[in-house]
Symmetry: C2
């Protein structure tokens, strides 16, 4: 009797620990900090413009860059598309006015192929449309990468997957009737690589890169 | 003749590279990205409230947290006090209304002692006062650390340096007649460690930690 109770307690403890570990798509402590920070900020509201994404979104002061105080940064370094889905709740509860989405390159680095990237993104967009029918959705394509910098081992040789993923994402945008923002050509050089003057690691953007992005988004923020 | 020209060119190249490397206090690519991002955002203006600091500042969406659209985040992960001094120009050019400063724990991790932390911070504050006599300066003390998490090797055994540094910072605030915000006791448990419910690495804050910080700052943001 006592033994089976102990066994039950042990199993329960293991189950709880596993459940906690699987709470988020990423076990970097920064990820949990950012999620708990978002959860404790004043809630998203109907006038808000939410930027949902990975480190590229996380790295900018969007409301300053765009001169719009309704813009809220919901980017987290290292996030994958499933990670965005997992943390949709506090965003969708607020029924934001606009939602700008950019993700996929971390999925690429995790050996996910282009079609899968499209499938997961479609799941995300279907969820947003169902729960927030009035939210205007903007799906942004992945930026080019530049492996000449040699900083991201898991992106080496994956240039084609980024292209495949973008093709899949664009098809999702068409099928789901959301706005497609094709960022790739704005940041690519003749070789299809992220312009070396816009980055210092072949993946992330320097200040001048964010200015290009800002200009690309301006028509959608009027 | 041709050889000496080549030699001169080589020396010049080495000098330029060295100068570029020493441009900022931190050679993490993230640091340069953040500095160039700040440099390409719309300039700081007289109504602005600037938060200058390290990762603790970087990690929050301050204008959301404080409900104040004039608040601008100028935190960078890993920054030291000298790093803040090196990037004062674009902030002071704008003559901001208020400047909240928090730094020191990365200096501690670089084996800087408490008195030195005070000296460098005093240099920073003297510079701000000279160039922006109307800017209201708020000097925030370092938060406690919690080495039970064992994540920051270079902070092990440095609890006393944080205390010494805070004592030196408080003396600077008094000497320079700027507002001292004593954050340490708000985040410390009975043992003087960062409360384990507010962090997941013994150094940075979870969302509930930022709420404590927000409440501490509210009187200064009316």
């Amino acid at each position: 009797m006592r033994l089976s109770f102990l066994l039950l307690a042990a199993l329960l403890a293991i189950f709880t620990a596993t459940a906690q570990q699987q709470q988020w798509a990423n076990d970097d402590p920064y990820y949990a900090r950012r999620v708990t920070h978002f959860a404790t900020l004043p809630p998203i509201t109907r006038g808000d413009i939410v930027f949902l994404g990975n480190s590229l979104t996380d790295g900018a002061e969007w409301n300053e860059l765009l001169g719009n105080r309704h813009v809220k940064n919901r980017g987290i370094v290292g996030d994958i598309i499933q990670g965005l889905i997992d943390r949709l709740d506090p965003i969708l509860d607020g029924q934001p006015k606009k939602l700008f989405i950019l993700s996929g390159v971390n999925d690429v680095s995790h050996d996910v192929d282009g079609d899968s990237i499209g499938r997961v993104m479609e799941k995300l967009i279907v969820t947003v449309k169902r729960r927030c029918p009035k939210t205007k959705i903007y799906l942004q394509g992945m930026l080019p990468i530049n492996n000449d910098f040699g900083r991201y081992r898991r992106l080496i040789g994956k240039e084609q997957v980024v292209l495949d993923g973008n093709r899949a994402l664009e098809a999702v945008a068409r099928r789901q009737d959301v706005t497609w923002i094709n960022l790739f050509p704005l940041f690519a050089n003749d070789e299809g690589k992220l312009r070396p003057d816009l980055t210092n690691d072949g993946l992330h953007l320097l200040g001048n890169g964010y200015l290009i992005w800002r200009d690309a988004l301006k028509p959608y923020l009027k």
